[in-house]
Symmetry: C2
Subunit: 169 residues, 2 copies
Amino acid sequence: MLRRDYENQHCSIAATLELVGERWTLLILREAFRGTRRFDDFQRALGIARNVLQSRLERLVEEEIFRRARYQERPARYEYRLTEKGIDLWPVLMALMHWGDRHIHPGMEPDVVVHRGCGGEVTGHLTCAKCAAELTAWDAEALLGPGARPDEGRPGEPRRRPAAALTRA
Amino acid sequence: MLRRDYENQHCSIAATLELVGERWTLLILREAFRGTRRFDDFQRALGIARNVLQSRLERLVEEEIFRRARYQERPARYEYRLTEKGIDLWPVLMALMHWGDRHIHPGMEPDVVVHRGCGGEVTGHLTCAKCAAELTAWDAEALLGPGARPDEGRPGEPRRRPAAALTRA
């Protein structure tokens, strides 16, 4: 059984963190996006304890974020490759990187991720699927979705907020 | 002193996770984006142990992701408000949510975040700052940035990769 970190949270952010929110997991994924595939290479690049790396990789295979692929016959050796589900985590890593670039290493970014061949920097945008406006947190609101539990309310309603939240200064 | 989780990682992703990668921290931030500001409201919404909540909030104030603001005089009571630095974490939360919506709750999203007033769903894009193309992980490559350490190589060079990574199938 998987450990449940956020049992009473019915939310896609919590659900995602259940799978990739453990210490080291997102850095293992970062390494995979840089092209790392093999246990010893992950270990060297991250300086992570081998037992921790092993348990994180197993969990990621279980969740089909990585698949194991044999790269040697005798003895059998395997490498870890991102699945499509894993590749879809790229925007999470880019969002974390952009925030760190801006707030921790401004002007001194350790890495720059660019459009291969073109050389332009990769930048993130959140836009409205209907009117295409570029959005900030201030422009958005959270509504209950089709998977909301009945006790939360009906899809399309705002999430019930604690009273304090309603008195924004 | 702050605990350093990823000491030998010189990288904006690791640096960001040092600040927001602890268990519960990203869900506390999610609550703040929903409008929660007060200790008891965070506690109720998350079902988190009070000592854990306290230590996470303190850390977030230390890092200027939240600021404490007094909302009552006698006795003095404080609430926690997102700073601009904190608000800039919104794309991280949206990227986590979009992945969970797609891979864990497809068609049954617990929440839908929409453009206020317009109603269109918020969607994420990664684009090239130079040619404006929409990019996937396959279109991008990581180069050393202006803040790369001398032992890593020169800015603009690809990160040195383990040999195995160079033999992509």
